[in-house]
Assembly symmetry: C2
Homo-oligomer: 222 residues x 2
């Protein structure tokens, strides 16, 4: 399921917008541990630099625009509330790049998490609408930030469902996922089927609450 060679991936710089959040730092940690160059982006450069300094490997901090400019693959890991505004402001910096959206549009109330309605259908489709010169792929929605960030944990067991309309881009993101020990990148359909991948995170939050777990998913029979 990993079609890119490690040597090709080793030359990549991966940017993480919203790189100071738990999910962003967690992914940054795993990508740098796999040997990639990582740029954590934030609105606040000092926070980005502090977050980067706390991670092992080749990780630096930058403002979001610099992060987008310097990376060839850019992961979007901001809270849903800031998703549209951030991407609209980085259209030029992200042009021609693979943008990996892992944002889950969720609401929370006393009964737990629920999926929010998104006019474009999903966060991924919103990104694609806002970034017509980028190639948007959805991935990394179901990972536990706790597990990603835990330095004592060598593997992160779970599959990454990768959705997108461009084969080269989904292949690349599958290969990125496969760099993380324990993880596979599984092609799981087109961008029009991103919504339920994002929304499933609400169900995993319910699983976590019921079973006191950090649940992820595996695809069987592949």
């Amino acid at each position: 399921m990993a079609t890119w060679e490690s040597a090709e991936l080793a030359g990549l710089t991966v940017g993480v917008l919203g790189g100071t959040g738990d999910q962003g730092r967690g992914l940054g940690r795993r990508f740098s541990s796999a040997g990639l160059s990582v740029v954590l982006g934030s609105r606040d450069v000092a926070r980005a630099e502090a977050a980067a300094a706390a991670l092992p490997g080749d990780v630096r901090g930058a403002d979001n625009a610099t992060c987008a400019k310097e990376a060839s693959v850019v992961v979007v890991a901001v809270p849903w509330e800031g998703h549209a505004a951030l991407l609209a402001g980085l259209r030029d910096e992200l042009a021609g790049k693979t943008v990996v959206d892992c944002v889950n549009p969720l609401g929370f109330d006393k009964q737990g998490a629920f999926a929010l309605e998104v006019a474009e259908g999903s966060a991924c489709q919103q990104a694609a609408a806002l970034l017509p010169a980028s190639t948007v792929v959805g991935a990394f929605h179901h990972l536990s930030a706790v597990q990603l960030l835990d330095p004592a944990r060598e593997t992160v067991d779970g599959d990454v469902l990768v959705v997108g309309d461009d084969r080269a881009a989904t292949d690349l993101v599958q290969s990125l996922a496969a760099l993380i020990p324990g993880m596979r990148g599984v092609y799981a359909g087109r961008l029009r089927n991103a919504r339920q991948v994002e929304a499933l995170t609400a169900n995993l939050i319910s699983v976590n609450r019921r079973y006191k777990a950090h649940a992820g998913i595996r695809v069987t029979d592949i």
Copy 2:
């Protein structure tokens, strides 16, 4: 994850509406193999009886109304197109019962499967709206009918995501899933989070096409 005792479940009669379809017959086969009484329901009694006769164990065929009346737990396995009309016509027969909806509202075109918009949010929520005197649970969405029907296959590897608002009913359905070797019933949230569970089937169809598989899912860390 199975809170009901086998002895309690052994007394149950499970009805399957749309029991002559692949999914319905597959579930019927597995429930009867697990020792339950099964009634396959169909619009066409002769077809239901023929389908029942082809399965091992205590399986009989009936029209859908008789199936709904005779069973204490009723699985809805009809095509999405017939979902609303069927349930609206069985409101009285299904009153007071646990109704297990496994219907996936999907469309298909040359690019594959995609999730359909459902006014109520999901097939499960539509069922709940049409059956105010029943307890609706969503489950059994991601199973391969091919695997369910294969007599040479002793286990069906995969987790069943169980969604619903009534704890006793979701416990029961989790226990029913656990009767099938290889399968677990995993509580995965409230009915308002059923939509993405149903829609995820579109992604699994994409997985099947790409990997030539009969994909299902497992929840990790539980």
